[in-house]
Symmetry: C2
Subunit: 194 residues, 2 copies
């Protein structure tokens, strides 16, 4: 595993997506890997750590998650702009070599069979919490975070350091039609009482 | 109503929060107004337009939403940094003049009794979709967006214009402990095929 990758305590893992980045969702079942992009995802609980993500019924990644009960939510960065958009606009169903064409490289962490996308800045392995109503009515999938890692060059001591790291590490925030915003300036509230 | 405020077509309203900003949640019941900050919120559907937000059981705003069935999700901006943090770290239950102390000014739009927070850059009036399991088990509230507006100085023609607007209009993205990031640079995917 890349020596820059450090483990993140589960109770602080919400901070990896608290700022609302567009994420990559990866999954694996029966020898098939897939990765898709999702803009609709956010944290759901601190302890146990949970998150949620919206996965359309037409996506191949959703099927892998329903079959395997496991998925990864990871945070892509500005260096992966084109790949992030490609993974969100092409389906494994029509393009069997989607991951190769996207230039997505996968790796595994010990103890988990689900693939992680190399070059991202944070990763959360999740166990699907089965909730048929949320899946069917809302395309909404809730996961318990069972492992979290980050690239220490841009996340350490429980905090992002976008403001002091190279701009290619910044998270991506999708709007529509191929337009993203990178995360920007750090703003600290003066005289924080809380 | 402020002449800069324009209506946003409901089918494009997801773009107001697609980039994952921290939001303000406002509600009203029986003569009581409240506003709280929420970092865990995202879009859920295009048509009909829906969004979701996580509201802790201890919050007074949640009670108003459960009683009235209506709420507003709005996007605060960098000029409202201190107010946004204050509204997320103080409760109406302990501070009856919370809104005054926060410096939050409210206004109404015709046809809706729920209050909107002045100075934000986008507003979505939502009708609560009652889902007791999601409320109780996950503190998760789903709303159908029934009205959407934005400040045309920073959102027009269905797009944010952060990159060409004054920095005080930028959206806020919370991490923890009084630290936010402002949204940053616009990144356009080259050669978009989709």
């Amino acid at each position: 595993m890349d020596p820059h990758i450090i483990e993140v305590p589960l109770e602080k893992s919400y901070r990896l997506i608290n700022h609302g980045p567009t994420v990559l969702v990866s999954a694996h079942h029966n020898g098939v890997d897939d990765v898709m992009t999702a803009a609709w995802s956010c944290a759901l609980d601190f302890t146990p750590s949970k998150l949620m993500v919206v996965l359309d019924k037409i996506t191949a990644t959703r099927t892998l998650i329903e079959e395997s009960g496991t998925f990864v939510i990871q945070v892509p960065c500005a260096a992966q702009l084109k790949m992030t958009h490609f993974l969100g606009t092409h389906s494994l169903k029509e393009m069997p070599d989607k991951l190769e064409q996207a230039g997505a490289e996968l790796f595994r962490v010990p103890g988990h069979s689900v693939p992680l996308v190399a070059g991202c800045t944070a990763w959360m392995v999740c166990r699907l919490i089965p909730e048929p109503h949320n899946h069917q009515a809302h395309d909404l999938f809730i996961g318990e975070i069972i492992g979290a890692w980050a690239d220490s060059r841009v996340f350490r001591n429980g905090r992002w350091s976008f403001e002091t790291s190279p701009p290619e590490y910044r998270s991506l925030h999708y709007i529509a039609g191929g337009q993203f915003y990178a995360i920007g300036e750090s703003l600290i509230v003066p005289d924080v009482e809380a």
